[in-house]
Amino acid sequence: MTRRRSGGARDAGAVPYLFLAPAMVLFTLFMAVPIVYTAYLSLRRTKVSGLGLGKNSRTEIFVGLDNYSAAITDGELWAGWLRVLGYGLLVLAVMLGLALLFALLLDSAHVRLARFSRIAVFLPYAVPGVAASLLWGFLYLPSLSPIRQVLDIDLLGTGAVTFSMANVAVWGGVGFNMLVLYTNLRAVPRTYYEAARIDGAGEIQIALRIKIPIMMPAIILTTVFSIIATIQVFTEPTTLRPLTNTISSTWSPLMKVYRDAFVTGDLYSAAATSIVIAAISLVLSFGFLRVVRNRAFGEG
């Protein structure tokens, strides 16, 4: 009871609230209101009465969950989900796998030119997604590609386009995730490994038995963030689209939201679909956290 609270601000009164006011105002205007507005729109639809001419012929009505059932039964959207699922699993596995491998190698002390490699692998983080898609897009083009001079595959064809797109995302994301994991590893006292070494553990055993378990919270964090980002894939397919006709305007669910909202002008479907995307990413993130936590407790 007598222990002073952090900062010891006993008579702060309204001060902390004033300090937090800018953030709360921004939160209300640019997060809470848009979310509520999307939910509201997703339950409504335009009703056209008469010939649809005249001033009052178009009215907005409440339609309950109609837009959601339309979104759930929409074959095109399902196809989009399947494409993103395949793409997402590929990106998550390869990107996080490489990030983990590189972080462990950088930390292992058996590596020369570690600083150079670390900077080079992190460099794509400084390249915007649009520019990355553009660069790889041109590298995939038959007329320019040095890759095509070696490999005779249409990298933007139906079969390969998912892999080509995943490659752009992996290239752009591996460095950042590597840095998160590597930073995490550097914070571990070296004496942990000394003890294991004295007990006769090799580097690979140390990596598997000590380093990976220690990094688990960071691995989980990067995985959850990557899942959220991958579900919303938009920039890569949108930017690669002008270069090939194998990517449709509804390739990913988010592209369909964009098309519904701004090309066909169906805001209500767009709102319902974005809520579905948000729900799926929340369920996946929490589901992933839960599975990981259960396994962690199950082993202990």
Binding site: A12, F19, S108, V121, G129, V130, L135, R190, E203
Partner: protein, 291 residues
């Protein structure tokens, strides 16, 4: 035991390299993979229209200056405007974002008050909200008040950044000793003075890191400006490059323009990244930036 540990303290000192050059080779392959597109565009941008399709991939060309002047002439120099716009969005947005995050993080770390956890959880919950749920309604709301397709529509929604607030709170907790605040208070310093003279200076290295990450995030953002803006005079580079590609994908004569534009658009961030290396940290819990 202490002496043995000390003797082997440097990681290099006990490097026995039992796996030969394999680890180094794997990492260098990764580095090569990451450098390939950047080094390719560096060379491709130097080629003239004819050289781009005729000379071998990694032979530098002679057309860099004419490519740059073509790009400068494109639609009355709109490319440089995109560059300035991007600088404005990223610089202004990151500055405001850092200020809001630092003050919020400080309040959350160093004051105890009713509703602290609720406010923190609300703000942090934003990390999990996908951008799409926000961008489309933000556009609709902005157009209702006549602000869609303005600089504000791109700048304002990017100021609040939940993860930065989280980092700022962690950093403030670690970097500002309670005793220092207490001493200031005893000397009669007010809350604003303590914030300005004690808290913010101590949080500065952490704020630089938050600024850099937010600067890159806004610089690289495509979805929000793509949705908000229709007027190409207000485009950032990402949207501008996209329209350049959409216009030129079927015209190989425009490829030089697109490639040169891409190269120029990635130079500033790469420069920022290489010069500010010690601030690129993903973990601020340590309290101070190691140099």
């Amino acid at each position: 035991m202490a002496t043995t540990t000390l003797a082997g303290a440097g990681p290099r000192a006990r490097a026995r390299r039992p796996y030969g050059i394999a680890p180094t080779a794997i990492l260098l392959l990764g580095a090569l993979y990451c450098l390939l597109p950047v080094s390719w565009v560096l060379i491709a941008a130097t080629k003239s229209k004819a050289e781009l399709f005729s000379t071998s991939t990694f032979t530098p060309g002679t057309g860099l200056l004419s490519n740059i002047s073509d790009l400068a002439d494109y639609r009355g120099g709109v490319f440089w405007l995109w560059m300035l716009n991007t600088l404005l969005y990223a610089g202004g947005g990151a500055l405001l974002s850092t200020a809001v995050s630092a003050v919020s993080g400080y309040a959350l770390a160093k004051y105890s008050f009713r509703g602290r956890n609720l406010i923190f959880n609300l703000l942090i919950g934003g990390i999990l909200v996908p951008a799409v749920v926000l961008a489309v309604p933000q556009y609709l709301l902005f157009s209702k008040i006549g602000l869609a397709d303005t600089y504000w529509s791109v700048l304002l929604p990017q100021i609040l950044h939940p993860y930065s607030i989280y980092l700022a709170r962690i950093y403030a907790t670690a970097a500002i000793p309670d005793a220092l605040l207490e001493a200031g208070r005893i000397d009669g310093a007010g809350h604003l003075l303590l914030l300005r003279r004690v808290a913010l200076p101590l949080m500065l290295p952490g704020m630089v890191t938050i600024f850099l990450f937010q600067f890159v995030a806004i610089w690289n953002n495509f979805l929000l400006p793509f949705i908000m803006l229709g007027d190409d005079q207000k485009f950032p580079l990402t949207v501008g490059l996209y329209t350049l590609l959409a216009a030129g994908a079927n015209q190989p004569s425009l490829y030089n323009l697109i490639l040169t534009g891409t190269l120029i658009s990635i130079i500033p961030l790469i420069a920022l990244f290489l010069t500010m290396q010690r601030y690129w940290r993903t973990d601020l819990a340590g309290g101070a930036v190691k140099s």
